[in-house]
């Protein structure tokens, strides 16, 4: 109940923005608001990893891409030629495949979005766990480079695989019908519906993470950040908590990837690029590392501006500049500039996880 009260202003703002756009005939803004909400979902997940568990990841674009690409590939690759295959036949008889007729009258058989989504999330869990176990033993520069390296590998893989469309990416991804009547897709008719789906998902994500932060687990994470050695001596299994947080944030990234891909109707390799991963880190940093609300606000705001093309060809440069300025002058985020001056020092002392 208390939680609902704390997010009430956000709910009001979401509805107000929609009504305002409808009233002024600027509903096209909702498209970018929808996309920003999905990116923000990734960013709040990364915020918990960076701000609370104190682990940097320069590879979260990779998890976004894992979600988006797996979902896109499964829902677009025609399995009809493989119909005789035992596995395909089994999936089909379980009702996990979807048959249809394309624009040219050809028939096709693809995996349904729900199944694809679950596969994508499971893949993200598996990969983040396998990567996380060794990677999270590293610290500082080593962790940064290892996660950066992971991101580049994902980028290279999608760029070099025919299955993932190489440099063109995958297009023609169908809509994702969550429940009858609610479909994630880029259709103009569903613009308002999709705006609420995206923000609904983001709010659910936010509530889950706020719950987490306020719990025994969140306390343990902050304790690790505060003094890893003492947390260990209190019985906190630091390695396990770091890995679980890493997996959690990867799942958030993958879900964002799945939904945004269905919304956009496709995905390209740039989503897996280093620059994207760095941008996510920048947004978490601007929001104030250990500050879910800040990460959410900044994630939505700056992504919205970027998607509207406000920064023009200086898009990446703007994020680079933001990173530097924030780290130089307000290492605890732009929101901390006014009322939490003492914390700047703390990040310096403790922020080298």
């Amino acid at each position: 109940m208390k939680r609902l009260l704390s997010i009430a202003p956000l709910l009001v703002a979401i509805i107000a923005i929609q009504l305002l756009c409808a009233a002024t005939g600027t509903l096209y803004y909702l498209t970018q608001m929808t996309m920003s909400a999905y990116y923000a979902l990734l960013i709040i997940g990364l915020c918990v990893l960076m701000g609370y568990a104190g682990q940097i990841s320069l590879g979260h674009g990779g998890f976004f891409a894992i979600g988006g690409y797996i979902s896109a590939a499964l829902t677009t690759h025609n399995l009809e030629p493989l119909q005789e295959n035992v596995l395909v036949a089994a999936l089909n008889s379980l009702g996990l495949l979807h048959a249809g007729v394309d624009l040219y009258g050809g028939t096709f058989l693809v995996v349904t979005p729900w199944v694809a989504c679950i596969v994508a999330i499971l893949a993200a869990v598996l990969i983040s766990y396998l990567i996380g176990v060794p990677v999270l033993k590293l610290k500082g520069h080593y962790l940064a480079m290892a996660t950066l390296g992971f991101g580049i590998i994902i980028y290279r893989v999608v760029l070099a695989s025919e299955y993932f469309g190489e440099a063109d990416g995958i297009s023609g991804v169908p809509g994702f019908t969550l429940v009858p009547g609610l479909t994630v897709s880029g259709d103009f008719s569903g613009r308002i519906q999709n705006y609420y789906i995206a923000w609904g998902l983001l709010i659910i994500g936010l509530i889950l993470l706020l719950n987490l932060i306020d719990s025994r687990v969140g306390r343990a994470l902050r304790a690790i950040h505060g003094s890893s050695e003492a947390a260990d001596a209190m019985g906190v299994n630091t390695a396990r908590f770091k890995i679980q947080t890493f997996v959690l944030s990867a799942v958030f990234a993958a879900i964002a990837g799945v939904f945004l891909t269905h919304y956009n109707g496709g995905i390209g390799p740039s989503e897996a690029s280093v620059m994207k991963s760095v941008r996510y880190v920048a947004l978490v940093a601007v929001g104030g590392m250990a500050h879910l609300w800040g990460a959410l606000t900044m994630g939505v705001l700056l992504n919205f501006l970027s998607l509207r093309g406000v920064f023009g060809s200086y898009d990446d440069a703007v994020f680079g500049l933001i990173l530097i300025l924030i780290m130089l002058f307000a290492p605890n985020g732009i929101l901390s500039l006014r009322w939490r001056p003492g914390l700047a020092k703390q990040v310096d002392e403790k922020g080298d996880g």
Binding site: K139, Y142, G149
Partner: protein, 296 residues
Amino acid sequence: MTIELFIQYCFAGLTYGSIYAIVAIGFNIIYNTTGIINFAQGEFVMLGGMISISLLPLMPMPLAIALAVVITMAVGALIEIIFIRWLKNPSVLRMIIITIGLSILIRETAVHIWGEGIRALPYFIGNQVTAISVFGARISPQVLVVIGVCGLMVVALGLFFKTTSVGRQMRACSANRTAAVLCGINTRNMVTFSFVLSAGIGALAGCVMSPITYSEYDIGTGLAIKGFTVAIIGGLGNAGSAVIAGLLLGLIEAFSVSVVPLAFQDAIAIAILLVILFVRPHGLFGSSEAAGLKEF
């Protein structure tokens, strides 16, 4: 594999390997005086190549290269003075993010100045098809220039750190900063100097490699991660073993072409990096006890 092909691969490996070694030494120089990994290290290489190409129409090539190196050194100095010098005990995380931001800024500036096109300096000796025969394999003289210049740089750096006063002061800084201050060494200037030095060697490497590997605004990240791989294999902070590690990585990459598709070539270096990080984060040649004392 024929002996000619084998030699060809060897030289290709040594060429790239010596560039990686120079980038890794650049990492090490800055790491030793500051404890920072400068993620913008690869950008120095890019700047060296790009600036010299732009200067070429105005002056003879040696002068263009020299000036490009000087300008890049100035950029290195400016970066340190503007962004790094005045921070008091910044955390590792903060420095990582700042240098990443810098690398993005430099790259984006480059793309706005030079565009996305691929450029190259002309071959220093002869042209694209000039070749000399080594045991039957045809090798471009430029390859020997790259290997030779990188080798000379390593020797010169070694002499610099051993024999000159400034070099000794920098070594003192990396050994024990507090003690260096007590001996009257201006450690801040040494830090600036380390940025200048690693910008300089990066830029020179960028010039000599340009005819073979071409210069492009976004080569920095790839070089940085490979240079870092090399620095890690050699043991962070250890310039001598970085040379061996660099050549090793270059050779592995060159020979991997016969096994792995070209598109995955970058992934090989990274996979090696990940494996090394997981198994021996203090490097193949480093000792774990020394690594334990360092602050990552």
